[in-house]
Amino acid sequence: MKFFYNAPILLLLAAYLAGCTVKPPQSASATSPLLPSGTKHIVRLDIDQPHVPLKQWKADGSHIASVKGKLLLDNQPVVNGILHITNSSNQVVTGRDGSFRLNIDQSLLSDIKVNVASLDQATVSGKHLTEVMSKELQAASAAVSVYYPIRVIRVEDFPADASKVQVHGQIIPAKGDVVSYFQVDKYRMGGVIKDADGKPVEHAVVWFDRDLGEGFGKSTPTDREGRYSIYYWPEDEETNLSVTLGTKRYTLPKGKVFKMPENTSVEIDITLPRTGTVLVDAPPALVSVTSAGAMYTGVLVGLNVPKDVPYSVSIPDKHGSFILTVSKKVWEQEPAFFETTASKFVEGRLYGGDTLPPNYIEAVEEDPKNIKPFM
């Protein structure tokens, strides 16, 4: 797992770059480049507020924060540098003082990276950059993270294993804010699609829709075992059930609808007909049973450590409190936390405070993952 460091970034370049070809600056004589090669350039890509506490969505738009930063080379502003922001092609151009601004949605967990994209029009002290300078600047990056601050309340020895500690932590939302922690979000309609010979069918898609209302459900394509899933919100309802395979669409007999059971996941196994596109609506061609489990979605915390470092953590309860169990040795290295909005199918039932299996969740690229807790 990668570690990401926040601004300011200092790149101290060694003398090995001194041998590189130096492009003469257009406005200076060929023999006197902007800065003598062989010296160490100091590149700074600074973000004024690299850590932004998550602030809830507001109708007045105040959750969109404007974050300032600066791009400097040897303490001089880089003017007209073009920066790239993760997930956006909007060009952010540095101003006369090397400063720039970007808009951050403070209501969503995020880790937004800033890189130098182009220096074609850039100048420092009114002069164009040498290739060496450009290379050094383009190696710079910074990040802005939006997350709930984490507090460590206490750390105690783990009773069952003296090599481990239990860390009692808490997610701290802003006053009055409600956090949607990991909890049941949807049920699963799943099952197996087979052909008339009983062999699993790959790449089929199952659909539910209703004549009244616009709602619909679409499955993942069936895998090699013929398995599909729809994460759906079943009601006591009559739905049109169909299966698409390539350009073919299989439907229930005319006038028939599938009566969806309520408040439960369900397995619906379907055998496609040998000929035609009308599904046989009786066993064994169509078998429907309720099944356990649900899709859980919500905020979880984890430890930003390599994958092979074991630890376990509980689902934050309604107060945001969680317990982390990890080896003393790892904890003493002061690892950072990450926060993520996770979605997982869970066979049983889980509640706030329940411990998740070891290394159950991983941060994805856009998650904030360099969260240093406060005590």
Binding site: W57, A59, I64, N87, S88, S89, N90, N103, S107, D177, V178, V179, S180, Q183, V184, D185, K186, Y187, D209, D211, L212, G213, E214, G215, F216, W233, P234, E235, E237, E238, S242, G246, T247, R249, K254, G255, K256, V257, F258, K259, P261, N263, T264, S265, D281, A282, P283, L286, V289, T290, S291, A292, A294, T297, S314, G348, R349, Y351, D354, T355
Partner: protein, 581 residues
């Protein structure tokens, strides 16, 4: 800390139980799925034009969804007048299924015409480019059969048209992809999933796209469909050059689940943006209309006004930053989206010239705000029957029903009379609310993005339509004309004082805007008109083009001296919830 694993018992539901409840389907989708009668290509397929060459040398365009970026839909072409409108006839038509058998039934496309080429889309996301004068097909693009099969069952498979800019034609697909095509050849330049830039925007999550994009200053602007499916609505901007995002963050129309007015809700918030924005090129401000909150008819879990649902929102078009937002219906319980595109007018208001933004809602009320400040100018002037008690579990009949009011059909503005013409629908609905949040979703499902309830047509209620001329100066109705069927397509007006519009029985009409009299009507061979015309000129001759839907989707071009042979009346096809916005 506790470790809990409660097993859900696995109950075997015999298929006899699961399917014994099978009942007769309402079959309301029949017109969407039954094969069309075999068309005769020789009757409907014009001679192909040579690619890259079009008829004519001088062109006046209808280059974007609303004619101009302000969406005024008012063209300066005056060849067709009240005196000669009777001489309008069909110059050409094309049966789209004859051109491609995979074209889906129904059509809600608003044509765009650029330099003698008519660009239209079909239900199921095919794109056609025709020579505007001869009807010769120039190019045709269709998604792969696998892709089309993949989205053929999504809630609404209608498409409202294209944007044209930078030598490309842009369209959004049902399965949430942005498509750019070469304007000359129709070859695919790029197809990019919106989910690459806005996480989770997939059919599997209930998102889909019906709206036409709009091109402005290097960007295309898109909304999102699926509000009734429990999505979180948004607007976003993309670079036309490479389809990468142009804003730092999308503009979300409702909070994330679990925040603000969704703090204690088990549901996502809805807030689809069904139709294209209006953009003021002088100020760079963009205005868009936002749909209803979810769940539609149950509001206990979403306290307060539910911003920005049922609202018109003004943002900076280059950054997406909020400028102002005004709500039409607070805490909506009746599915009263602000669905149609807003329109920017330089109008006379209370005796003075003022730049305003106007929008008619599904609520049956018409609004106007100062374009710069959002200050209210006209506040919810009724143009339809309004009687909507709070929905109960037993059911209440409400007016307007879930189709509006004013649905997706756009208004037009005639500066000469200072009238806005509003396309209205008069049709009630019987609404039943959920008894509680758990019924609206499922117990223990705090995040379910359910739609919760069903709608039924009001009993003994005959739907019809209206054309309301709203005097922008006084905020009073100048007149209201009753139409046989609900007004679903909207208007396009001309400087000659005519407004053209289609009807659900396949007629195309011209209204004298000042008098409110229908002065020309023509029964096309199309089943149903569900979008407004585009009006343009080639070599100074004026043409009117529009699409028709039903089981034989077609595109027509009319002009003076065209063929006056009329068709048989089509059947209004409008009751299906899948066609509703």
């Amino acid at each position: 800390m506790k470790k809990t694993r409660i097993k859900i018992g696995i109950a075997i539901l015999s298929t006899s139980l699961a399917l014994s409840a099978c009942s007769t389907s309402t079959d309301k989708n029949a017109n969407k799925t039954e094969p069309a009668p075999a068309p005769n290509p020789s009757e409907s397929t014009p001679t192909p034009a040579e690619p890259g060459k079009v008829t004519g040398t001088s062109f006046k365009n209808f280059g974007t969804y609303g004619f101009d970026l302000k969406n005024t839909r008012h063209v300066p072409y005056k060849e067709v007048t009240a005196e000669n409108v009777k001489d309008l006839g069909m110059i050409w038509s094309a049966d789209l299924k004859a051109l491609d058998k995979d074209v889906k039934n129904g059509n809600q496309c608003y044509p765009v015409v650029v330099d003698g080429v008519v660009y239209i889309t079909t239900a199921g996301n095919q794109v056609f480019a025709f020579d505007a004068v001869t009807g010769g097909p120039i190019w045709h693009w269709k998604p792969s059969a696998e892709q089309a099969a993949n989205f053929s069952k999504a809630g609404i498979i209608a498409n409202r048209g294209v944007a044209v800019g930078e030598g490309k034609v842009f369209m959004l697909t049902v399965d949430n992809q942005i498509v750019s095509l070469d304007q000359k050849t129709g070859k695919l330049v790029k197809m990019v999933p919106i989910s690459d830039s806005v996480k989770g925007v997939t059919l599997e999550n209930g998102y889909y796209e019906t709206t036409a994009p709009v091109y402005y200053k290097g960007n295309i602007y898109i909304g999102s469909s699926g509000g009734d499916n429990g999505i979180r609505g948004f607007v976003n901007a993309y670079k036309a050059s490479d389809l990468t995002p142009a804003w730092d963050t999308p503009f979300w129309t409702v909070p994330p689940k679990g925040q603000d007015w969704l703090a204690n809700s088990k549901f996502q918030g809805g807030g689809a943006v069904w139709n294209p924005p209006a953009i003021d090129e002088e100020t760079g401000i963009m205005y868009f209309a936002v749909g209803n909150p979810a769940p539609n008819f149950y509001g206990e879990s979403r306290p307060g006004d539910n911003p920005y649902t049922d609202s018109v929102v003004a943002v900076n078009a280059s950054t997406g930053k909020l400028i102002w937002a005004k709500q039409e219906i607070s805490h909506d319980l009746w599915d009263y989206d602000a669905a149609a595109s807003p329109m920017i007018l330089n109008a006379t208001v209370k005796g003075k010239k003022q730049k305003i933004v106007v929008q008619g809602g599904k609520s049956g009320q018409w609004f106007a705000w100062d374009a710069k400040t959002g200050k209210v100018v006209w506040d919810g002037i009724p143009f339809a029957k309004i009687d909507h008690p709070k929905p109960t579990p037993e059911g209440v009949t409400v007016y307007p029903g879930v189709l509006g009011g004013e649905n997706y059909a756009p208004e037009t503005y005639d500066p000469k009379t200072n009238y806005v013409l509003i396309p209205g629908i008069e049709q009630g609905a019987l609404l039943k609310s959920a008894k509680n949040q758990d019924e609206a979703s499922t117990p223990d499902a705090p995040g379910a993005a359910a739609f919760g309830t069903t709608t039924l047509a009001a009993q003994n209620d005959v739907a019809f339509g209206t054309i309301t001329a709203m005097d922008v100066n006084t905020g009073k109705k100048a007149y209201q004309v009753k139409t046989k069927d609900p007004m679903r397509g909207g208007f396009t007006s001309t400087v000659a004082g005519l407004a053209f519009y289609g009807e659900l029985d396949g007629k195309i009409n011209a209204l004298d805007i000042k008098s409110g009299k229908v002065i020309w009507t023509f029964q096309t061979t199309g089943n149903s008109v569900q979008a407004a015309p585009a009006i343009f000129t080639v070599d100074d001759k004026q043409y009117i083009t529009f699409t028709t839907g039903g089981v034989t989707p077609q595109v027509f071009v009319f002009g003076l001296g065209g063929d006056k042979t009329q068709g048989k009346a089509g059947t209004a096809e409008d009751t299906n919830a899948h066609q509703k916005k």
